[in-house]
Symmetry: C2
Subunit: 345 residues, 2 copies
Amino acid sequence: MSNLTNRRIVLVSRPNGAPRLSNFRLEESPVPEAGDGQVLLRTLWLSLDPYMRGRMSAAQSYAKPVEVDGTMVGATVSEVIASKHPKFEPGDIVLGYAGWQDYAVSNEGALRKLDPKAAPISTALGVLGMPGMTAYTGFLTIGQPKVGETVVVAAASGPVGSLVGQIAKLKGCRAVGIAGGAAKCQYLVEELGFDAAIDHQSPGFADDLQRACPSGIDIYFENVGGRVWDAVAPLLNDFARVPVCGLIAQYNMTKLPRGPDRTPQLFRQILTKRLTLRGFIVTDFNDQAEAFARDVGSWIRDGKIKYKEDVVEGLQNAPRAFIGLLEGRNFGKLLVRVNAPSGST
Amino acid sequence: MSNLTNRRIVLVSRPNGAPRLSNFRLEESPVPEAGDGQVLLRTLWLSLDPYMRGRMSAAQSYAKPVEVDGTMVGATVSEVIASKHPKFEPGDIVLGYAGWQDYAVSNEGALRKLDPKAAPISTALGVLGMPGMTAYTGFLTIGQPKVGETVVVAAASGPVGSLVGQIAKLKGCRAVGIAGGAAKCQYLVEELGFDAAIDHQSPGFADDLQRACPSGIDIYFENVGGRVWDAVAPLLNDFARVPVCGLIAQYNMTKLPRGPDRTPQLFRQILTKRLTLRGFIVTDFNDQAEAFARDVGSWIRDGKIKYKEDVVEGLQNAPRAFIGLLEGRNFGKLLVRVNAPSGST
């Protein structure tokens, strides 16, 4: 063991509905040393993402749940503190999956070295990382956008939605964003160039959305589910494509909504409108990683794509920030600044 | 007007739930004469298909409803009785859309001349017609079958389902059919070569289906909806494809089932299993008509594909037969023999 102390946030209990602060606990423990072929990492940035709600539950999904008393999982940008692997040396900045903690020992295969000169290192967790690649691959591969089509994206000011809308514009589509509150809607139109932005908190939400989509909807990028889907579904055109990326509105659901059971109605819409609904996880499209890095990297360099980060200071504040994420309280990609780089003063 | 009398079956009223005989009326009227560029047809075969239930309702769909007091629509094989178009002469056999009646005047563009020597003319309404092309295009294009995958098809003894299962076998898949009753299930396995057939009328239906799919389901060709979907959904593998072709179990539904609303559950399945659900209508794939005719034609000639027809005698019996179709009482492609060809004795 080293003489450093690790802080980590563990899952105390599985939430019933919305997570609470009491579902998390900050623990301190000694920092392990790196074994042969391993590196010791200090977390600089921790990414908070909606999928983590699924990891807190025991329900079957595409990935294993976090165990009770286990460290919360998450993608991180870290500094190499000590290295017993020839590929890394202290000071290197790496993308990994170290979770909600200060320090972690990692194997080489789980890490990707970052070049701090190429882009701000935090972007490896956002627009140039998993959320960005989610938007790029799901929208282009499943959405199949064509010039002149109308694209609607929910959670539009988040890291996935904001990129979907901006790529839609680059592909010659009409981009309509759905977000919570006037500030986010204003940002989508004035800063990111969306054609329209609809506040789902407005009482006239469904009517507002219809007015913003006078030619119907050809692609709906689903991040949300629930009542946003209910407003979108009647507006879908024949042959519309629906990449199903996330369902944040139902992650905290403890039981199914009251009836009637509208499953037959959904199937009828799929049949008569010849809809395509397709779920995906970003790792399904790992073979597009190079194309993503090339395209989105150049769009950012050329100023064609903008991104926004919402930074929370300190690991101890991660649980509260994550709870807020599920309530839509973040504005932009939610990041926790866990530690400053060792070179900083 | 000619001196012939036309019998036609009109829609008296829109059914509420299952159609009844009282929703139909047999009428007699004079037969119109063909105008310039037109032909007069006598119906030999009328096709009865589940989609016609949709035409009896006023609800919005992909095609216009039949008007009240209007002739029921339907695909037909007819004999040309009189022609004022150079392309046709009396005695020609044509595929058209003359509806539930003895005679019809038609324009050339709505007709396709059949060669009675190439195949029995009734097959133009079944295995070599719309139902066959529905199976071929939807299964291959949306299903994307791969060797060794498990394919489940509902309404499996019907003209669409039976072809889906047989093509699945030709593509190296495991084919599991769902049908109503022991006779149909026996036919699927013993005559058509399905690997297994499950009786949805059996009390152990869901368990039977699970046992027949030990490696899960990779493609589910949806003709039915309702409780068949409920049995299939838990068995779907990651990345399963679901061509949504028909929903016969819910065509007569007058209101949505009782709650809870399982829509969120369906979306969760789509997301976590990365399912593709895609609705289609055969005409969406008209550009595959040549490939379909070539492939299925040769498979039939080579004895690799079999088909079964369920023939009802006489136009007056069409309403009763159609009501039975929606209840699964037919066994094979349901056809009405409306008139004998004029050359027959």
